[in-house]
Amino acid sequence: MTKKSTFAIAIQLAAATLFTTAAQAGDLRVEVRGLTAADSGTVNVALADKAEGFLKTFLASQRIAAAPGAVLVVFRDLKSGDYAVTAFLDENGNEKLDTNLFGMPTEKYGFSNDARGSFGPPSFADAKFSVGAGGATVVVNLQ
């Protein structure tokens, strides 16, 4: 009845803490939008840096209290390269993306680039963006 989606599991497994690297480091600002006054809970934001294992393991993740409008998280000192971000609103604090009986998320979620998959979750390629030495800012719209 309460089988979890791959995505939900992946978010759960994204226990990695903030990962820091050496030279050529920039900050990634992730603005998570789409929250209303009716939304409460915690926004989980997870960062990936490669296509292999996308949505199974993440480079880092952060949690921040939901607030109407937008919330901002920053992943610091990332080395230059391609990244993808996914986020969801954890309404009930169980640290997973809840799904209905058909496996569809019942909590708001989104990907960088507003990526949506076709017969599967979006790929790393769909959601990826570049972070250079000067850092980057991306928006994830929760739906």
Binding site: T6, A8, I9
Partner: protein
């Protein structure tokens, strides 16, 4: 572990992994074709559609006398806006739902119609163009679908239960409406893990007040079953799986069982993902039988499968069981042409005449695992029974009937009662100028006897371009209406409705 489950979301997420919407293609010729055809064929009036948010008229002119026991509101639902921007939908099932209410009081009859403010409608009104996918139209450049509710038009039925009024579509959530103003209150969530799960358009309310329903995720071959207590609380839910499914429109209940018929069709995920409409993604499975699924009301997580010869159907009349035997009736078509062709072509003004469905009686021997069926002569649709006999043995089946063939007209000219014990029929022919919509049975609460009460329903008077509402003695249709109220306008032809007694 269930990649598949997330896939189900993405299955519905539709065509495009592209990050930007594809350019909208130029409108096709359907709008112009329909407009030209309507000028020549007044029978198409019911498919013109409207974009007016509300339609209202009070103190309707009434001929005859409305029975004193008949007080309440008759609600109906149906697709009412067939054109969005320069797109004319290619299928009758696509347009946004507009709920019609006929309020019957001591001072007469008033009408109020209002569109359901679905997520789809709100978004498309703001954009002034079609943004969302549709059941039977390939909508170029449609937004990705994050759940079936993305393109839920709430256009199929309207049911009052436990103090709530629910506008229903078979692929998505129920929308809650205010029973007086018909304002949309929001999406019905039965339980958090059922949020966004389909709640189909033909729930069955048994005489004790328990509501049974189902919801389908055909891409996952999953059928969710709902038992809602008379209080409105969800009493139970379960899931059964069956391969090779497509839409399932209706089901039937008996005292012990839930009964489904699955025509030999399936929806092709690949076609849908490439942007074909849901309907356009369907495939007829030649050589396969029609499956009967039987679910025990006490175990909503398993189903037994039996077989009937291939066929197609939308609607059940009623069902009952006597221990090891289930009996039910349904309106049977030889194939899916009604849905795939007839209900599409008249959206561009092309009337395709084919044989309508026939009332078909089925006997299922559970011990032997066999079913047999027998069709009764006569073309019909929109079967209903007295609400007092839902799930138990019924004698009288009420249908819209086609007893006069008119080449340029699809649909029904009569309301008919079939006495299943004697085979006799009792029928009122509205005449060649009327298109008869679904008629329902309203019990006279002073009696518990099946058929004691009234049959009410609407019909489109093509000549006058007005919709009429009629009430009959349920056991004497051929005597003609006891009363008839006439609207000052024609309503778009709709689907299903129900009565909420005052």
């Amino acid at each position: 572990m269930n990649r598949r489950h997330f896939l189900s979301l993405c299955a519905l997420a539709g065509a495009t992994p592209l990050l930007h919407e594809r350019a909208f293609t130029a409108a096709d010729s359907w709008q112009a074709e329909f407009a030209a055809a309507l000028r020549a064929n007044p029978y198409l009036e019911g498919f013109r559609g409207t974009s007016q948010e509300t339609l209202a008229a009070s103190n309707l002119p009434i001929e005859g006398r409305i029975p004193a026991g008949l007080r309440g509101v008759f609600y109906r639902n149906g697709p009412a806006q067939h054109e969005v921007g320069d797109l004319r939908y290619h299928h009758w099932f696509d347009g946004d739902g507009m709920v019609q209410s006929f309020r019957v009081t001591d001072s007469g009859v008033s009408h109020l119609g209002r569109f359901v403010r679905t997520d789809k409608r709100v978004a498309e009104l703001a954009a002034r163009k079609a943004l969302r996918r549709a059941f039977g139209t390939d909508v170029a450049g449609a937004q990705p679908v994050s759940s079936p509710d993305t393109f839920n038009p709430a256009n199929t039925n309207i049911v009052a239960h436990a103090g709530e009024l629910l506008a229903l579509w078979e692929g998505g959530s129920a929308y809650r409406l205010d029973g007086d103003s018909l304002e949309t209150l929001g999406v019905k969530v039965w339980r958090k893990d059922l949020k966004g799960v389909a709640f189909s358009a033909h729930p069955k309310v048994d005489p004790e007040g328990t509501l049974w329903n189902f919801g389908l995720s055909p891409f996952d071959s999953m059928l969710v079953l709902y038992k809602v207590a008379g209080s409105g609380e969800l009493a139970n839910a379960g899931v059964v799986r069956a391969p090779d499914m497509t839409m399932v429109h209706d089901f039937a209940v008996t005292s012990k069982y839930l009964v489904f018929l699955l025509p030999p069709m399936r929806v092709n995920k690949e076609k849908f993902s490439q942007g074909k409409s849901f309907l356009g993604s369907n495939e007829w499975l030649a050589g396969r039988p029609m499956r009967i699924l039987v679910v025990d009301k006490n175990d909503l997580n398993s189903a037994r499968t039996l077989e009937l010869p291939a066929g197609f159907m939308f609607h059940f009349g009623n069902a009952w069981d006597d221990g090891g035997t289930i009996r039910f009736d349904y309106l049977r078509y030889n194939d899916a042409t009604a849905m795939t062709k007839v209900f599409s072509e008249f959206m561009r003004g092309v009337v395709v005449i084919q044989r309508e469905a026939e009332v078909t009686l089925v006997t299922v021997d559970l011990a032997k695992g066999v079913a047999r069926q027998e069709s009764m002569p006569g073309e019909a649709e929109f079967p209903r029974v007295d609400p007092r006999v839902v799930g138990t043995r019924h004698r009288h089946l009420f249908v819209g009937a086609r007893s006069v063939a008119i080449p340029q007209r699809w649909g029904f000219n009569a309301v008919r009662r079939l006495d299943l014990d004697t085979g006799k029929t009792d029928e009122f022919d509205y005449g060649r100028d009327f298109l008869v919509e679904e008629h329902i049975v309203v019990p006279d609460r002073s009696s518990s006897q099946e058929g004691k009460g009234w049959v009410i329903g609407t019909a489109l008077d093509v000549k006058q371009r007005k919709t009429v509402w009629s009430v009959f003695d349920a056991m004497n249709l051929s005597a003609g209406p006891l009363a008839r109220a006439t609207l000052p306008y024609a309503l778009p032809l709709g689907f299903h409705g129900n009565f909420r007694a005052a």
